[in-house]
């Protein structure tokens, strides 16, 4: 596994947390992940769904998760016990991406910060793929870790960005 990011602990935690959420919440088959630098071409695809959460506490930052619309429908269907082409799965794809990101973030923060610190996590919001890419392009120094996991033979990208100390979001 290639590790291009500075913190092996953060990287490992990001991968394992995302894998656990995809497997246990979405019942997805997850292959070996790959660490990457920056955002992958995934975000160029118009059929991508992306979500973002902000978190504040012992440290603050942003997490983003993106996947294809097709995968989001499959995972929604799995979580709800529906057929993959069920209309409700299509309707729930956005909520699926947001909720999976919520779970990844909620589980990742204690994994990297320990059990004591408290964090506030914002409600997940869907963002355009270009916004997802801009999260890193605008402030590459804030990217702490990012990885691409393969779930159900489709890529899932997850990224953790940390704010500089003393940073206050608008």
């Amino acid at each position: 596994m290639r590790l291009q990011n500075e913190s092996d602990h953060h990287a490992s935690a990001l991968i394992e947390t995302t894998r656990s959420v995809l497997e246990n919440a979405a019942f997805a088959m997850v292959d070996d992940p790959e660490m990457i630098g920056g955002m992958p071409p995934l975000c160029e695809n118009r059929n991508i769904l992306a979500a973002r959460v902000r978190f504040h506490g012992a440290f603050s930052g942003t997490m983003a998760l993106s996947m294809t619309s097709h995968l989001a429908c499959e995972l929604a269907a799995g979580m709800l016990g529906l057929d993959a082409d069920a209309p409700e799965a299509l309707l729930r794809q956005g909520d699926t991406v947001g909720e999976l990101l919520n779970m990844v973030c909620g589980n990742l923060l204690p994994a990297i910060a320990g059990p004591s610190p408290e964090f506030a996590i914002s409600t997940p919001e869907l963002i355009a793929p270009c916004v997802c890419r801009n999260l890193v392009d605008a402030h590459p120094e804030r990217l702490k870790s990012s990885a691409v996991l393969i779930a159900e033979e489709e890529p899932v990208h997850v990224a953790l960005l940390l704010d500089p100390p003393g940073f206050t979001a608008n």
Binding site: S20, V21, N24, A25, A76, M79, L80, G81, R92, D95, T96, G98, E99, N102, M103, C105, G106, N107, L109, P110, A111, P115, S116, P117, E118, F119, A120, I121, T123
Partner: protein, 130 residues
């Protein structure tokens, strides 16, 4: 006796997932009601007899902590068991929840078996108190 259940989560996906788990279980479920936040949940509890609340913590408008605290301060609502379903990992906050008397805490992601085990433990504990 049928259980009236209130599911509180700002994610419609999670509300549907939990509903599905209850529907597939052997539990005798009467009313199944839903709320997107703590404030809406309190309104539901004001209008309907609820036997069990399954609630997320991180919600807009009114979060789960505030809802649970409000229930504890109410002479009738304080007796309704609350199962918390959340990603919360802070030991400080989990200890606070336990001090508020929540019936159980289920960590997301959870399996249907996790939820049903917790519900049965709550139901057993409630029966012992009667």
């Amino acid at each position: 006796m049928s259980l009236n259940i209130l599911i509180v989560d700002d994610s419609s996906l999670m509300r549907s997932m939990i509903q599905r788990i209850f529907n597939l279980s052997e539990l005798d479920v009467g009313l199944m009601l839903f709320a997107e936040n703590g404030a809406a949940a309190l309104s539901v509890m004001d209008a309907h007899w609820i036997d069990l609340v399954v609630a997320d913590l991180n919600m807009p408008v009114m979060d789960g902590y505030t809802m649970i605290q409000t229930m504890q301060d109410h002479e009738i609502l304080r007796d309704i068991p609350v199962l918390v379903v959340s990603t919360e990992g802070s030991e400080t906050r989990l200890a606070k929840l336990r001090s508020l008397g929540v019936a159980g805490i289920i960590h997301k992601p959870f399996t249907p078996e996790d939820l049903m085990r917790a519900v049965k433990e709550v139901a057993y504990a409630s029966a012992k108190r009667v």
